[in-house]
Amino acid sequence: MRDFFDDIPIRLRRERSHTSASGRPFVLALVLCLVAGTLIILDRQGVITPIRLLVQQGVTPAAQALTGLRDQALDLVGAPRNAASLRAQISALEQENSQLKADNLRLQQSQVENASLRQQLQIQREQPWRLLGADVTVRPADAGRRVMTIAKGTTDGVQLGMAVIGQNPGGPAALVGIIESTGAHTAEVLLITDFSSQVSARIIHAGQAGLGLVQGQWQLGSRLRLGQIDRSTQIVHGDAVVSAGLTGSMRIPLDLAAVPANIPIGSVETVSASGQEQSAELRPFVDPDQVRYVWVILNQDA
């Protein structure tokens, strides 16, 4: 391996201790920067995107294996070492807790609906979303964009704009992100915490449901912010926020389709008011950085 790093061993160094630097590296740097700039433009225009996705697809199995290895190592480090039964009990309690929280949220949503909407909701429940499970292969690589790659693509039925949900131990299944681009066997998910992610939402409070817009805030130092809420809407700490299913009709500058209604997103942490609007900081039900396995909602019309 050293050969590749040290491709031409310089044996004459003692004879030529200091060679004056020429302009060659600067010219090369300029050329390489131009090449990189050209690639960015071509990728943004979609010219070379298929090639990138093809290569990405090729490395997915290795990435998946390495991510699994890391997760196993983390599990090994973080797991209690003395009592298997304790772990089983904790797992059972977490499942029960998760079920209770999901039930509670569903109950709050039900109270909001009037009789006709209840009927519609009942139909929706009788026809649950069709889910597709997928491993997370690559998590965000740096502090730039909040995007992750999953090991399912167009051949599995994944399409642009589909909602992706996840579940943390002890919490309800909730929105993690939206499919932003797809390859044959992989797809990229724009996380809801990214600044460019916007999803229409409803705040469930005392039998009423106000509308708002959830925007990612990771690049701004927090997780999620619920904005564009009417001043008259009552919101308090702990109110649950779910998707409204209106994203497609809000003409948001984001070429994504609609997110189905009633997907849990998060709960209200703090509320602030400005002018005729108010906004709230949200704590997501699922931390997108922690999920290892997600589900794509294939049935967007549910």
Binding site: F5, P25, L39, R145
Partner: protein, 177 residues
């Protein structure tokens, strides 16, 4: 005698391919094995490229050393773009600019001791994060938040990697010093 030229070319191509594969494997390790609790990976490729350039600047033939550093930056940046689902060339441009700035700032300095690598990585990763923010963040950038959330944590994580990477790399490339 007549075969020496093609064999040389094949050897060069094989070496270059080997280098690309090695850097690609390191980029894969960055995005899969090195995520931090801060929500992003430790910038191994950036630190490697800067350290390689510094070692190149301090070698007997600085031009060749710097060119190798630039090649590492390009290959590493493109590998990250492929793995991290960012527009192809964005990480490459950020890493190249960081490496180039380090070259300009250090070309007349003597590369000794741990202080210069730390300062170089500090400056390089600041440039890297700023370029990435400009390329990848949509709309107007809130610089105060970007500094708090991306720049400062990113630079600190890079600094943690700097000395181990620099000294291991210098040991591996000791034939050029």
């Amino acid at each position: 005698m007549g075969d020496s030229q093609p064999r040389r070319l094949e050897e060069l191509l094989a070496r270059e391919l080997g280098l690309i594969l090695c850097i690609g494997a390191l980029a894969l390790a960055q995005v899969t094995l090195l995520p931090t609790p801060l929500g992003f990976s430790a910038p191994l490729i950036l630190v490697l490229a800067i350290c390689r350039t510094l070692i190149g600047v301090g070698s007997a033939f600085p031009d060749i050393g710097v060119i190798r550093g630039l090649r590492w930056s390009l290959y590493g940046g493109l590998s990250l773009d492929i793995l991290a689902a960012t527009p192809l060339g964005s990480h490459a441009l950020a890493t190249l600019l960081a490496t180039f700035a380090v070259t300009v700032l250090t070309r007349r300095l003597r590369i000794e001791g741990p202080l210069l690598p730390i300062l170089a990585v500090c400056v390089g990763s600041l440039i890297y994060e700023v370029v990435l923010a400009l390329l990848l963040q949509p709309g107007p950038i809130n610089w105060v938040s970007t500094v708090q959330v991306a720049l400062v944590p990113g630079v600190l994580v890079a600094l943690i990697l700097t000395l181990p990477v620099f000294f291991v790399l210098r040991w591996m490339l000791r034939a050029q010093l």
